[in-house]
Symmetry: C2
């Protein structure tokens, strides 16, 4: 087919999406009516019902679909018959609990369309989002009789309760699920006008450190000055973790960390991120961290070290003149591409050990470690999807980062060796996990159109 | 009387002490049999009984004695008829609870003399000690028919439960109790051969500091690096409190702090204090604090800053990637002579405020403040008592310090403008507050002789 024919075909698919939008909405409402709350065992049958509903929908789209057992709630796995590049679409069909129910204006499982907003638990997170993809497949099927590429689908039923079965399931179904790229639909647009692909997620190293000085708690009058105080030792160590310029002072910490490409920096600069508002919303006004680096860059593309907890000595009411035996802290490092979690952990431990007096002890406890995710910005799927989204929204696609992690993306990378394009149409005001969750009808409608275009761009 | 006659008289008094020691011991046993546990309301009648027992003893020694009501347990106040300098003797007749009772080898309120050790609750702390003074008065009375100086006595019944009624009582009885010097018998000898007078007690400033950064707890992935972390701010502040040489870095902290006189340093050097053992007993081997200063000097004569408690963020099991809104610490300063608690508090607060970022908040809470106590080393009472004790023990009297405080000494100084000589015959192994508390018969016998001599030296 030539480019003209391609365009005509895509236009027909998009026209089909538009024509069918009311029915698309009805189908979403059907799914939203199922209270598939994964964290509450009382809802287990509803979770299963949602999985079976999805299997039937996928069967109807000529997928080879199944509800697969796990130690927890089932996975829905489906394989399409298309040709060409192989993509794995991921979404989740379970939802958060609805408490406090009294703050909902309507029944969370009786979806309503109100002023262009679809209101229900799961409307945005993640039933609405996953249905954008299924409805795009439906339109392609309706117009062309087939899917434009080879599509596999993985829909999880435990995302809202920590994905306990996911790693084991991926390990077992590795061969079946490995595709050329994953499409993960659980993220936001930058703003209602700007389509986004999240290309960077920070990694994590969690450490717990405990300093022991004296063999018992001491009276600070009797021993103060001459006996080592682990609170002081720990505070000195924590203070030593940052340079006067706000960077992390652990030796080798920035080894392998690349500067953000100028092109990406330039794109971020166009996003109109409001540092003052971002900090002001949580009662701050002065950026911390590395001096001279914009907040967005610090959050998305710079590693950090944060003291998540620290405790030592007497912390109750009143006062106790004690020099404690022990003090401890929970410390996490957020990593970016180029940093090896193992090396960072070792470098941190060496940094601490060098600062513990010879007659004191230090112990470390590991609390998780995962590398950062960074998509190559010139990858063919990313390039294609970026253009397709821009076409739909009439605006350049923002390539964004996220300071936190999305576990499934790490799992795909680690276990299946597969990159993920994180594309979603949720908005920051969708109130996910909160009462009156909503998904804009525009998010739904143009989300379906967006996926129709993205699939075309991969073909 | 000339010096020869003085000596003959004192020798007669000492001979009387020796002759009467068995009866002195019986009288102590009578007092020890009264379970005057002040902290347990069930024993209130016994506390009163002990007070009345003491009043009777003092009446028998021609004191004008009374049991005085307070909001808590009573005080015993007695005034003797002697002439010359006026001394106020202080002791306490209440005792600690006896738990864990199963660890006692004998009934704590059935005193026993075993291998030269008087075993009972209160044998050392403080019934045995206070009786050394009363028995010395008795010997003087027996030999000369009167007391060698004007003696007032204050015996407290709430020392082991925090002396809640003491300040108010002193305030009311100020005129009655103000003497030329106080004698406080609640301290140790340096070792079993070396008599001691404690001449220095460190003062205290207690502060609680709370740092608030963001208005709510934040996700350290989403905000880490750009949002100020109060744990880090607090740790930086705590680290800044010490200089690289181990001193306290608060501006003006050492203003007015004098070096220990060379003569006192020389005397301390003869005490044979074993730094290694002192630290080794609590599992340490490297002195902290100011580099180059002996441990004893650091404990007795140098001010310090200790972090008694600190807390911020998540400190439970596992890990939580939070940037907390708040972090706090309890910090105490031990002061020496020349330091003003108010000025130290203000200097500390200024030090902290200068290090809190402009968009964060700091609040302070005051937890007590008292200046250090330091007796003038050339005072006439100290000089006399020092010589008298040396005479009894055949060894120079050690002038010691204490890193902690003895509240009554501060109260005497503050409310009555009266210095205290802290003289006691307890030993470090007396197991006060523990099962099998004991007081050596030698402590008791030579304690009585020591007071007989000290009173003579004041005459």
């Amino acid at each position: 087919m030539d480019a003209m024919a391609d365009k005509a075909q895509l236009d027909a698919v998009l026209a089909q999406v538009d024509k069918d939008i009311d029915k698309s909405l009805e189908r979403l409402f059907d799914l939203l009516r199922i209270p598939s709350i994964s964290t509450d065992p009382a809802y287990a049958e509803h979770v299963r019902k949602a999985a079976e509903w999805l299997k039937r929908e996928l069967d109807g789209l000529d997928f080879d679909a199944g509800v697969r057992a796990t130690p927890g709630h089932p996975m829905v796995v489906a394989h399409g018959k298309g040709e060409g590049p192989h993509v794995l679409f991921y979404g989740h069909y379970d939802v958060q609990p609805v408490d406090p129910i009294e703050l909902w204006d309507t029944d969370p499982f009786d979806p309503q369309l109100i002023d262009g907003r679809i209101r229900a638990r799961g409307a945005s997170d993640d039933k609405g989002q996953l249905m954008t993809f299924l409805e795009a497949c439906r339109a392609w099927k309706a117009v062309t009789g087939k899917l434009p590429v080879k599509i596999s689908i993985l829909l999880e039923g435990e995302e809202e309760s920590g994905s306990p079965s996911l790693p084991g399931f991926l390990e077992e179904a590795k061969a079946e699920l490995k595709a050329d790229v994953a499409l993960v639909c659980d993220t936001d647009m930058w703003d209602p006008q700007t389509p986004s692909i999240t290309t960077m997620l920070r990694g994590l190293v969690g450490e717990e450190v405990e300093i022991t000085c004296a063999s018992q708690d001491l009276h600070s009058g009797m021993f103060g000055n001459a006996a080592r105080n682990p609170n002081q030792v720990l505070a000195d160590i924590i203070a030593s973790l940052r340079t006067p310029e706000g960077g992390v002072a652990v030796a080798g910490f920035y080894d392998g960390v690349a500067e953000v490409p100028e092109s990406l920096k330039a794109q971020w600069a166009t996003l109109g991120f409001d540092e003052k508002k971002f900090l002001g919303d949580v009662g701050l006004s002065l950026p911390a961290g590395e001096k001279g680096r914009p907040v967005l860059e610090q959050l998305w593309a710079r590693p950090t070290c944060e003291i998540n907890g620290m405790i030592g000595g007497y912390t109750g009411e009143g006062f106790k003149t004690v020099i404690p035996s022990k003090a401890s802290a929970k410390i996490s490092f957020r990593l970016v591409a180029g940093q090896d979690p193992k090396k960072i952990r070792e470098a941190f431990r060496a940094h601490v050990r060098a600062r513990v007096p010879a007659d004191c002890e230090v112990t470390f406890k590991e609390h998780g470690g995962s590398p950062a995710i960074a998509l190559p910005l010139d990858g063919k799927f990313l390039t294609a999807a970026k253009a397709a989204l821009a076409e739909e929204w009439g605006k350049d696609t923002a390539l964004t980062g996220s300071g936190g992690s999305i576990p499934v993306v790490g799992e795909f990378k680690r276990r299946l060796g597969m990159e993920s394009l994180m594309i979603g149409f949720a908005l920051i005001d969708d109130r996910i996990h909160s009462p009156n969750e909503k998904y804009n009808l525009e998010s739904y409608h143009r989300g379906i159109r967006s996926w129709a275009r993205v699939l075309a761009s991969f073909a």
